[in-house]
């Protein structure tokens, strides 16, 4: 009797729903395995006591010590940080300024600028690397004799020479990360409530003060995202850096690549594991802070609703 009261189709639908749910979960699990098995291997081999990545010969921390004491590995790590940080700072600053200026630029100039931004994002890293390298080589070949001439003219001794180095990597990285920042900030500006700036003007804030007190806080998420993206791209880039890197200043990816040629040792895994640990730790800290603040916000919201309910009833 009870069977009849429950319509069978509904049970069937529920069962199908459960299956769909399970299928999604299985697919997701498989993908996470796919994403993390190689990383787990990287971390595992960083504890390898043996000399080669790939053959596990017991566990040890020795490669961490080797890595920390390797001046070239640590130098490369430092170079990557320097390049990533400068790239992030310059790209976000210039990109944000440009995005703001584009709001007030005549349409034709804006269209040209947007097209170039588009090209800068689309152009493959390898072409950026090659093209900027050729440019740098030619530019320096022209500038250095000029400098020498000037120095000779003023009798200032040995002239400085400009060559490739971390600065050229930064310059090339800024090119496309700045384009990304411009797109991000422009999107945010487009979505921004114009009346907020007007309200600020209306309340006696000058354009500069309005920018600092209203526009900038509104743009902050886009700017932070842009800076993070710029840092990540720059920190992990091999292609462009390998072309425009200067004498003896390899970045971490370049160091890793030449290690692969040398025959990779667990030292590299140890470095990768350390970088991963640092980023994950930062991530956990950030998310804890975020969770705390969102919990506070939730509590406040609840209190507000209660008040409002009390007030209106």
């Amino acid at each position: 009797m009870t069977d009849r009261t429950t319509p069978p189709p509904r049970a069937a639908i529920d069962r199908a729903g459960r299956w769909v749910d399970r299928a999604f979960r299985i697919q997701a699990t498989a993908l996470y395995l796919f994403l993390y098995v190689p990383i787990a291997l990287v971390v595992l081999f960083s504890f390898n006591a043996g000399n080669r990545t790939g053959e596990l010969r017991g566990l040890s921390l020795r490669w961490y010590q080797v890595a920390v004491e390797d001046p070239f590995a640590m130098g490369a790590l430092q170079n990557s940080f320097v390049v990533g940080a400068w790239t992030a700072v310059i790209a976000t600053t210039l990109g944000t300024l440009a995005a703001l200026a584009l709001q007030r630029t005549p349409r034709r100039i804006r269209a040209v600028f947007e097209a170039i931004t588009y090209v800068a994002i689309i152009i493959p890293g390898i072409v950026i690397g090659i093209a900027t390298l050729i440019f740098f080589v030619n530019a320096f070949a022209w500038i250095n004799p000029q400098l020498a001439g000037i120095w000779a003219a003023i009798g200032a001794g040995a002239p400085p020479t400009i060559g490739t180095g971390l600065h050229t990597i930064i310059a090339a990285h800024v090119l496309f990360t700045m384009a990304i920042v411009i797109v991000l900030v422009r999107a945010r500006l487009a979505g921004m409530d114009r009346s907020l700036t007007e309200a600020s003007f209306d309340l006696f804030a000058s354009p500069l003060r309005t920018f600092v007190q209203v526009t900038l806080p509104q743009l902050r998420p886009a700017i932070i995202t842009g800076a993070l993206l710029a840092f990540t791209f720059s920190f992990d880039d091999y292609v462009i850096a390998s072309f425009v890197a200067g004498p003896g200043k390899p970045t971490l990816p370049m160091y890793v690549f030449s290690s692969i040629r040398r025959g990779i040792t667990p030292e590299i895994n140890a470095i990768a594991a350390m970088v991963l640990t640092v980023t994950v730790t930062l991530l956990v800290i950030v998310s804890l802070i975020y969770r705390r603040s969102s919990r506070i916000a939730a509590a406040q919201r609840a209190a507000a609703t209660a008040d409002a309910a009390a007030g209106t009833s």
């Binding site: 979960r25 600028f113 050729i134 990779i264």
Partner: protein, 289 residues
């Protein structure tokens, strides 16, 4: 009126000053290099390699000999993009609609691989796909001798592995933004699970699909590390051809011509795709990011 005219000038100058650094950057590091590439592409190769001033179309006429590399890259980019989409969409959908309280954690887990070196992660696949990895496992299971390394499969795998997060993210964002009431409305109007997905969810997430596809397709077209590491020099992309032309055979003019054509191919493909794609979806909020 005079006063406001002066102010207009001042504001124009301020705008120009704000734009100037970025414009200079573009000019020096994008436009001038591109112009150099164009000039080089019409030049000749110096005896020991490099560039010799000349004006010839020979480099462009020679390009068909590199058609394989172009076509390889194009197919792999298309294949990789489609695979990323097929694999990434269910994950993004799962994250956006079903993951519940773990959603943030799971989402972050998609991005974390980005923060370990791209090279080391890809290198890890050498161990997995090499003779002592999966193939020996399969052999033990009685599947016979299978070669995975240095095959198009390995390269495709490396591509999907590295670019999947770039696909999942925009998909997730567009699915997450989707108004749940629309799905309820669809079900209320009698559409089943699948019909709702096909007629409501999919069209409304097309902006995410559009940007995900572009984010993945463009870098694969210019890829060269993944084929170099997992393709053993046999799976050859146009990026690898470019590196060889500049850093091995030192034929800069020919390399420049190939680079120019690569840019043009990508630009055209992306432009057409955006046109068609955004028309189809009826959505204007298509952006590269």
């Amino acid at each position: 009126m005079v006063r406001s005219g002066a102010r207009r000038w001042r504001s124009r100058i301020a705008t120009a000053l704000l734009l100037l650094p970025a414009a200079t950057w573009y000019a020096l590091l994008l436009l001038v290099p591109l112009v150099i590439l164009v000039v080089f592409s019409f030049g000749g190769r110096a005896p020991e390699g490099g560039y010799l001033p000349d004006f010839t179309f020979a480099n462009y006429l020679e390009l068909p000999t590199r058609a394989t590399a172009f076509v390889n890259a194009l197919w792999m980019a298309l294949g990789g993009t489609v695979l990323c989409l097929l694999v990434g969409f269910p994950l993004a959908y799962y994250l956006a609609t079903r993951a519940g309280s773990q959603r943030t954690l799971l989402l972050v887990l998609v991005v974390v691989p980005f923060w370990t070196s791209f090279l080391i992660r890809t290198y890890a696949w050498l161990t997995i796909l090499g003779n002592n990895g999966i193939p020996s496992l399969l052999e033990d299971l009685g599947f016979g001798h299978i070669v995975l390394l240095n095959t198009p499969f390995a390269v495709l795998l490396g591509i999907v592995y590295n670019y999947l997060p770039l696909m999942v993210f925009p998909l997730y964002v567009s699915l997450e933004r989707l108004d749940k009431r629309l799905l309820e409305a669809s079900k209320d109007l009698g559409a089943g699970r699948w019909a709702t997905f096909r007629q409501v969810t999919l069209p409304l997430s097309s902006a995410g699909v559009l940007s995900g596809v572009i984010l993945v397709f463009i870098p694969i077209m210019g890829e060269y590390i993944i084929p170099a590491l997992l393709g053993g020099g046999k799976v050859f992309f146009i990026g690898n051809a470019l590196v060889d032309l500049f850093l091995q055979s030192r034929n800069w003019p020919f390399g420049s011509a190939a680079a120019i054509v690569l840019i043009l191919v990508i630009l055209t493909a992306v432009t057409i795709y955006l046109r068609v794609g955004s028309r189809g979806s009826g959505s204007r909020e298509v952006s590269l990011l």
